[in-house]
């Protein structure tokens, strides 16, 4: 499960020191960046850039308890503009683990489909999905992080869910047809 996340005041109040906060939140922020970008090389760089931007404002961010949200928004913004830096590079995704003969169960197949969908979502929608289902944030908190209306955050997530349902249904139809084909032989 992800580390506890808060965007409300008070969270940073107990950790006002920037270095300590980075040490504490760095791994979680990198996981968030990885889920938002899908690229394990970019994630630490995005976090580092975001921290660089947060540092000059650290005192006020820590005092207001909004450092986490600020840094996450900066990560999302960075993931959106990152293509400009990479656009002439052919990105190679992380190597998948060696295929095994393990036959995935229904829930595992659903998760596979969900991850495949996440990787195709536009950046803001993808971030909303990560914030909702990995960070367990409320829609109001997601809206704060993404700097959008709560309705927009809700819409991002709802449409992703609807899209996943459609894909799962299509997958189910394909599986069913495949099984029927076997039965008929």
């Amino acid at each position: 499960m992800p580390e506890e996340v808060s965007v409300d005041a008070g969270h940073e109040a107990t950790e006002p020191d920037f270095g300590a906060w980075v040490a504490s939140r760095g791994p979680a922020l990198q996981r968030f960046a990885y889920l938002v970008t899908g690229n394990s090389s970019d994630a630490p760089d995005l976090v580092q850039d975001a921290l660089t931007r947060a540092l000059p404002r650290w005192e006020s961010l820590a005092a207001s308890g909004t450092a986490e949200a600020y840094v996450k928004r900066s990560i999302v913004n960075g993931s959106i503009s990152g293509w400009r830096k990479r656009r002439r590079l052919v990105l190679v995704e992380d190597v998948e683990p060696m295929a095994t003969r393990h036959e995935p169960g229904p829930e595992e197949r659903d998760a596979d489909e969900a991850w495949a969908l996440v990787q195709t979502l536009p950046s803001n929608q993808r971030a909303a999905v990560v914030l909702r289902f990995y960070e367990d944030l409320s829609f109001a908190q997601i809206a704060t992080v993404l700097d959008c209306a709560e309705a927009t955050a809700r819409s991002h997530v709802h449409r992703a869910l609807a899209k996943l349902r459609q894909r799962l249904n299509e997958q189910g139809s394909v599986d069913q047809r495949g099984n029927e084909g076997v039965d008929n032989e």
């Binding site: 889920l35 630490p44 207001s64 929608q125």
Partner: protein, 428 residues
């Protein structure tokens, strides 16, 4: 209980699994630099940091970030693609030093410090009002409209499969919301204009659905041509096309962003000047020599340090602005000095390697603004065979790497075609 219980469970499982498979790196923490280097994280950082000035910490972190980039082999490329000190119709509009990379969000509790400084309304260079919060103005031809600040300027192919090398054909499709450039469109392979595997309405074009990004495209049709106007929806994406004067604006937005679509549409207007002070009508028409029509009393390259330089790219055939951006401060001063220092002659010219008589498709005007004075224009001729250089109305200066590369350092002002000698000195 949610109506999407299965889907929510799937998302949670997928994200948890992916996150578990990710190995975080050690981040650079201020105060640890002198003791153990960038990759180390020490439990003593709190003590060290207390003794370290904030400014020093910032520098150190930047150095660490650069080191990470160098490790993954992107350093040189990033350095080339990141324009410095400039803003553009593509840029975020943020102009503070902290936000120069364009990714810094507004602070959640310190709006005054985080709101991007407005760089044009208070300088009176355009009739456009200040954009609404979080938006920026973009201008194509004489059509201005507001888009969210993070939308880039980019070039998109109509049919990615028809784009040949260099690079992956999919790499020609922008990966972020964008305002489409007018110039520098990829040239599709000959006789490649059909595809049969698209399963969405034809109004949405031919970019595969999985690669869709929100965009705004301004088009001026050939004489007699018209485009279909209206609104179309596909899988939550909203496509709107409206006519404004003699142009068409096509707006595509993603699921849940209908409001963005309406707001862009509502902001469309014609304008005589862009946010940086570029005239939206080209002073030169097709066939005109690329130089000022009147000669100033003194060169616009002389005088105090410029406040800013608007880099305005024009298309003589439509007599329109096709792209613009702005540089300020030291970058603006440096460009003026580099032009002034360039030899007082035209060049590089190699007419023996060039087919003469082709129409000029693009040129640039550098509009130099100084405090309290009228702007001065320097014309840049870089296409075709001859007469290349910076023309200030008094002297012509040669295109050199120091003077020309800053002009074409960032989109949407780019070189579409040039002789090899010019490309060598002008392309970043």
């Amino acid at each position: 209980m949610s109506d999407f219980e299965r889907e929510e469970r799937a998302f949670r499982a997928a994200l948890a699994r992916a996150a578990d498979g990710f190995e975080p790196r050690k981040l650079a923490i201020p105060g640890d630099a002198e003791e153990s280097g960038p990759a180390a994280v020490s439990s003593k950082t709190e003590t060290a940091e207390e003794k370290t000035p904030v400014r020093r910490r910032s520098t150190w972190i930047l150095a660490a970030a650069a080191a990470v980039l160098a490790v993954v082999g992107l350093g040189g490329i990033v350095a080339n693609l990141q324009s410095s000190g400039g803003d553009s119709t593509a840029a975020s509009g943020a102009s503070s030093a902290d936000d120069s990379a364009g990714d810094a969000p507004k602070a959640l509790s310190e709006p005054e410090a985080a709101v991007p400084e407005d760089t044009y309304t208070n300088r009176g260079r355009t009739d456009l009002p200040a954009p609404t919060d979080g938006n920026r103005w973009a201008v194509r031809y004489d059509i201005a409209f507001q888009v969210p600040q993070e939308w880039a300027d980019a070039t998109a192919p109509a049919l990615p499969e028809c784009i040949a090398e260099p690079g992956d054909q999919w790499d020609t499709v922008p990966r972020t919301p964008y305002v489409a450039n007018i110039t520098n469109q990829p040239v599709p392979s000959i006789a490649c204009n059909e595809t049969k595997d698209r399963d969405f309405p034809p109004q949405f074009g031919k970019v595969p659905f999985s690669l869709w990004q929100p965009y705004v495209l301004i088009q001026k049709p050939e004489k007699g041509d018209t485009y279909e106007t209206g609104s179309w929806e596909h899988e939550g994406w909203l496509l709107t096309r409206v006519r404004i004067e003699d142009a068409y604006a096509t707006i595509l937005t993603g699921p849940g962003d209908e409001k963005v679509n309406y707001e862009i549409k509502g902001s469309l207007r014609t304008t005589p000047k862009d946010p940086y002070g570029c005239e939206t009508a080209s002073p030169l028409a097709a066939g005109d020599p690329i130089r000022p029509k009147t000669n100033p009393a003194t060169s616009p390259l002389e005088g105090d340090a410029p406040e800013s330089i608007a880099i305005c790219e024009y298309e003589p055939s439509s007599a329109s602005l096709t792209g613009s951006r702005e540089i300020t401060g030291a970058d603006a001063s440096g460009l003026v000095k580099a032009i002034r220092d360039a030899p007082a002659s035209s060049g590089p010219n190699s007419p023996q390697n060039c087919a003469a008589g082709q129409p000029v498709t693009a040129y640039v005007i550098l509009r130099i603004f100084r405090e309290g004075g009228e702007p001065g224009d320097v014309y840049v001729n870089y296409e075709n065979c001859d007469d290349h250089g910076f023309f200030d109305g008094i002297t012509v200066h040669r295109l050199t790497p120091a003077s020309c590369r800053p002009v074409f350092a960032a989109e949407p002002v780019t070189i579409y075609s040039a002789q090899g000698d010019v490309a060598t000195v002008c392309l970043p």
